[in-house]
Symmetry: D2
Subunit: 375 residues, 4 copies
């Protein structure tokens, strides 16, 4: 990791600790979240995904910032809508939403998943209908972070002609119903679902370009960033556990000086380092537009969340009573990581995507072994 | 991985396949090994560890070359003596041994481990005594690759004053007894032990510098390289397994198109990639002399050999009957990886070294938690 | 499992579901718990540990009843004090406490663990002092289930002569301070700590016999029962997960008909069955007073809680969003199992006890290999 | 385990050690194998599967005998043909083959698996044709233990009317080609394949009954016995490893007294015990003809071979250099266990069979959740 990226990690950690040292057990309200986002503005977090000349940064650099922020405030989000608007939004939409989003005065979300299951972009049921009064959005989206407090959403839906489109929706406008969704992890975040019942969509609020393709590109970034944040949670649990054990003694010596504990700490730390490197490799692949970087991002997400699951679970155990207490830091990290694992496709789905890519790549050099389009 | 390093991997793979496409099940003799080494000369393998101006390369670059060679010819070795001689050898010793070693006309080994156990440099029992006829070496070394065929050895021993020294020994000279040591893995390599019974040591064959310190530095490189080669074995087993399964069908479809198989391939490939990145991170650390790079190298070795153990074992299973047949490639990779795991300290030892480093680093920022010199 | 034991499991399940179908997220109060215990009276739960002629049952049979109750109401406890009182209590103590305990009109607990760490009976600091007014108890105990609501406790302490004793304490009497202890798992149970500040101990409230020895015997039963209840939690999470997945489809087929899911369900179910058998083997060993049954009980506890940890964690994952929701059944089972794992010694401690036993047993037949008292 | 069964284990161990203390690295010839079988005659091994009144024993008891024999002589086989002949053979066939088989003067095998893959009884291609000279057998079978030395085989094939039949074949007769099949594990056993090119089949050599059904019943027994033998190999590797480590010291103490080693020994021994119990549970289920006992046998085989794979692999590691040496006992046990894992269906296949059974059983009580014939 370069010195610049290490500095970004540190900056993220410090800012997260300063803004919200102890995230609450219930969802933050809009005002509290806006304070957090405003406090992150000068780090580049909010404009991260814009082009460099507009204040953005590389995905690798943003990964470092998110790693730093994510140990304390995992899955904070509110950085993707900016990219979509800047890349594909009309002048009117950009003028209305980009300034407040970049200033930390508005909260945005991207709405893809629907209640009937999964994040399968191929099976979108929300739809934009053309009515006498203009475009209207109907349908439902779920598992959305910030659903109960966000100001604006980019929503994937079928357009009037049946093709997928992305539309920008004012969530404080008419026709929008919000419902909270209590979660076991990431409890400080306002998860929820949205229902659109004839919500008006101005003609210039339809983003340009192929809705599904753009959504898929976004997945590679999102998955790598989930991996980075899972790794940050694993690291946090591990650090906390070493601190905890350093204060305990067994047979008159600090527990952290025993071979058993050092062996387990070593096993966990080695896996954390390796998963972190894979996540940054995926981000570098996205930055360089390397072929297969989307599959590698799927692998990075799986490994990051797998390692986080295992490390946080083992830390709960190593902390014994303190790990099972209500204020257990490792248990909270574990719950947060379990929720991260459900984002942007389950491990089962992502591992199979990545495995399919590996199989295809290996067989590309052995056409004699391929048995048809599916192999 | 840079294009240069990728080219080095490819070069190593091609050369290994050309020189010895199917390593035999019994140790190569001296002539066969010399043919292999001579065939690697122009790749830089033999002079890799010298300074760049003498034809050497960075440890990272050498790692790539070794990764390429190591899939087919793992643990080929014969590159460390050159470094010791060049760095600490007298003119006479260098003039005698460096040219044949660099040309692939001689084979060298480094002898540290003793029969009484482990690679603990603190407990060396071999000794150099000053006699009327000059220095003489007494003692025994074991688990040495190339023991039965090498021309020259750098041997760690106690000097006449009790301090550790490294001496250069002509293994074809008097007072040397060689014994082969049949192994389960890496069967193409002539492992064995050496006994020194008054073997003469010219005064200029004592290397300069602190024997133990120099040996320890060598460990970081050696461990990283073992990790890289373990990863190469895992990759080889995985590639072989995908090829194998591509030719099988179940319920009328290629096995490689089933979700179950893709999921497992993905899980293995993700771990292989992450372990590879950790090994190169350790090598980059050695190149840049980063603090803690020796501990990271221990972690890289453990993760590399752990991943190789798990992946090769799973590949044996996935290949079913073919995995259990006498000519099973995954089983051979597994056996080779199991032997690599015993080199340069067991996983237990290396994991504990690395875990101790992690604990110390984490507690460095929390002096309030430290409870004494051992924590 | 015999038909009788299977019937006891079923009886326990039905009763638990009828008495408290959905245990709350906060500790039950005394009245609610008494309703539960009264409702279990006719199952034999409360008198389980008495001799058969007094209405007790074998440990194996009680294990089945506890397995049934424990899927829904894990670690319900309140059955050990009865055994201690009946085996070692004075007539007065038995007359006062046994009837209400056996009728479900009183709640008892056994207090061993102290705040300075672990359950190491060798290092008890609570003490019974002889004063002018009679015996008085001083000290603190922690991690006690029912601490805030129990009526009576059996407390391990140093006696006036320094030897360990067990004394029966009226927790509603003077000199007792209770403090709740919020936990992450088993949230329906009132965990807490107790402080004794000169709490009066009638002379006949000192139990007969060696305090430490009796406590150790109790551990074998307690550990086996923890294992059984951990297995019950694993089974509950697995059943819930299969029900959940049966209602989901992928590619038009029920998820439960896919090979990937069946493979994972099979892997979990096989481990659950095997762990269950080991727990009952340990209980049968206790019933028959087989040598080494205490070590086997340690193994059963570790395997039971390990399997429960792994299975519940995987079930959380398999349920995806539903597993991460606030009302996630697998997540609750996982949290409950994590707390069970801290009871009666951590996995680290118990695994080492059991491993030491295995080593000793194996070396008993090879005296030539033993190297001293410690091997 | 009852005293009788423990005695059978011990008997099997002693006899195996006496008959062939160190099985060779290459397949035994017919004479050597006959000496082994003759030496086992009085243990009941050869007639184990006959009814008790004919000298047979329960499957559970036979499991104990096989566990004992199988630590040293795993997968010795030659006990199944007897059952088939006795249950379904004509008088002539029984008179010819049973006496020598029961006396250890003949070796038999059961031939099911064919070269085109798997043990899928539904896709048998060997066939019995009716010719002018009588019935003739055509086809090929593979992965057969004793193929190069056996005297007689029960072969699954399509009958003249297309329905599966089992026929008894004299392997020393005309029309039989044998080919050896070198294996990596179980190297002392003569594995091989058979080709039948018009091999004559007397009319009374066709066994009575449904070929496929009888073959499937045999699978439950075979899988449980494979599990038992895998467990025996795991136990052997573990015992050997403890003996080995007891002779090593670290920091001046026997390695077997360190917490790290005891912890790992405990973890391995606990899994071995649990897997053993599951195998015997499956055998008891077969003895009692419990519903689902075939699925449980599949689970027992998977868990037994999984545990054996993990334990032997870890033992190789713990023995360090000795584990990687050519005469490594744990490595041989691992290779033997890997071959056992391929017998009677791979782990993938068996785990999915068992998982499907678990799903069906759980959903039987919840008809509301079932979505069709496949769930």
């Amino acid at each position: 990791m370069s010195a610049r990226d290490a500095a970004l990690v540190r900056l993220g950690e410090e800012r997260a600790a300063a803004l919200l040292p102890q995230p609450p057990d219930r969802p933050l309200d809009r005002a509290s979240l806006l304070r957090v986002f405003a406090g992150l503005r000068d780090t580049g977090f909010l404009g991260s995904t814009l082009p460099p000349e507009r204040g953005g940064m590389s995905h690798s650099a943003f990964g470092s910032l998110v790693e730093g922020v994510g140990g304390g405030l995992p899955f904070l989000s509110n950085h993707s809508v900016q990219r979509y608007l800047h890349a594909s939004g009309s002048d009117g939409v950009c003028a209305r939403w980009l300034p407040p989003l970049l200033a930390g005065r508005a909260i945005g979300l991207v709405a893809i998943t629907e209640p009937h299951g999964g994040s399968q972009v191929a099976d979108v049921r929300a739809e934009v209908r053309r009515t006498a009064e203009g475009l209207r959005l109907y349908g439902a989206k779920t598992w959305l972070v910030h659903a109960t407090v966000a100001h604006v959403a980019v929503v994937l839906a079928r357009g009037p002609d049946g093709a997928p489109v992305r539309v920008v929706v004012d969530l404080d406008g008419p026709g929008v119903r919000r419902a909270p969704m209590p979660t076991n992890g990431l409890r400080y975040l306002p998860f929820g679902s949205l229902e659109f019942d004839g919500c008006p969509v101005p003609d210039d609020a339809v983003l340009a370009g192929d809705g599904v393709a753009a959504t898929k590109i976004g997945f590679a970034v999102a998955r790598s960033l989930v991996g980075v944040q899972a790794v940050a949670l694993a690291q946090r649990a591990l650090t906390h556990t070493v601190y905890r054990l350093a204060g305990r003694t067994a047979r008159g010596r600090p527990v952290t000086s025993s071979d058993v504990v050092r062996h387990r700490v070593g096993a966990m730390a080695g896996r954390v380092e390796a998963a972190r490197l894979l996540c940054y490799e995926a981000l570098a692949g996205v930055d360089d537009a390397r072929p297969g970087c989307d599959a590698l991002a799927a692998a990075a997400k799986v490994l990051g969340t797998d390692v986080a699951r295992d490390v946080t679970t083992e830390c709960v155990e190593l902390c014994a009573g303190a790990g099972a207490a209500a204020d257990s830091v490792p248990a909270r990290c574990r719950d947060d990581a379990a929720l991260l694992a459900t984002a942007d496709g389950t491990s089962l789905v992502n591992q199979t995507i990545w495995g399919g890519h590996v199989v295809r790549e290996l067989l590309r050099e052995r056409p004699d072994l391929r048995q048809g389009p599916e192999a």
